[in-house]
């Protein structure tokens, strides 16, 4: 359910999916890419403790501030932790890359008000390439997959997905199935 690499996912559908269309692969960014917002949330969580420890250093007594204000500020602080965590999770969970037996779909929610969906039919896929670079990428085995499409249509990029070489190969295999196992394929393996 919370995996970042799911082959033949069950109980998952996509907006505009045809009744006879099957999801073959569902990808998300590798969970390790969530580290920045998790660290930020932990930092915000720790702010009240830091303030409590740091106040005497600045010769400021928290006893001057009424208890009700301290309580409200604490609630606001933990609401901030909640919203950072929730937004981080939403952004990770719903930004998906999907390979169906007909299309490749890239669903992006860049910010709270921006939604972008790129759909490329499998028959339009020219070739795929995968790249993996950096310490974290090598340790946790994730990277980018670029899918070139025919014509003037935009290329599709899968960012920070697990097993990028395997994903690139998986997509090409599906394209070859359409073109009769490479017999009529215009694409080199």
């Amino acid at each position: 359910m919370f995996s970042s690499y799911i082959e033949h996912p069950i109980g998952c559908r996509l907006e505009g999916q045809d009744p006879d269309e099957k999801i073959l692969l569902l990808l998300r960014a590798h969970p390790i890419t969530n580290i920045p917002w998790i660290v930020f949330a932990i930092f915000v969580f720790a702010v009240p403790f830091i303030v409590q420890k740091a106040a005497p250093l600045f010769e400021f007594s928290l006893a001057l501030v009424p208890q009700s204000f301290i309580l409200v500020l604490l609630i606001i602080n933990y609401l901030l932790v909640l919203v950072v965590t929730f937004e981080g999770f939403l952004s990770w969970y719903f930004n998906v890359y999907i390979v169906t037996d007909k299309n490749i779909v890239d669903v992006d929610f860049h910010s709270i008000l921006f939604k972008n969906i790129d759909v490329a039919p499998l028959r339009n896929i020219e070739d795929t390439s995968s790249s993996m670079g950096g310490i974290l990428n090598s340790i946790f085995h994730y990277g980018n997959v670029t899918i070139q499409t025919a014509g003037a249509t935009k290329n599709i990029d899968f960012q920070s997905v697990p097993r990028p070489h395997h994903v690139a190969d998986f997509i090409l295999d599906e394209v070859h199935k359409i073109y009769g196992k490479g017999k009529d394929a215009r694409h080199p393996v």
Partner: protein
């Protein structure tokens, strides 16, 4: 009798401005939570999974809590 001048940095004045600032922050926060509800709705329609209803319910409860908090803070500060 000399007039008593109020110090603009009086604790009372500071607290009053703080209350106004906190309420303003909470109003913006409540608007933000409503946007999150809208966003979750949009996301859940785009990708339908088993946890979509749970996420949707959580976002609605979150928005309700944020709106309730404005009233609570108005009362206790």
């Amino acid at each position: 009798m000399p007039a008593i001048q109020s110090n603009p940095f009086d604790l009372e004045v500071v607290l009053m401005f703080s209350k106004a600032a906190i309420l303003l922050i909470l109003i913006f926060y409540a608007i933000f939570t409503l946007l999150i509800v809208r966003q979750v709705n949009l996301m859940s329609k785009t990708l339908i999974t088993k946890i979509s209803p749970i996420v949707k319910a959580f976002s609605i409860v979150h928005a309700g809590f944020a709106i309730g908090l404005i009233i609570l803070v108005w009362g206790i500060l």
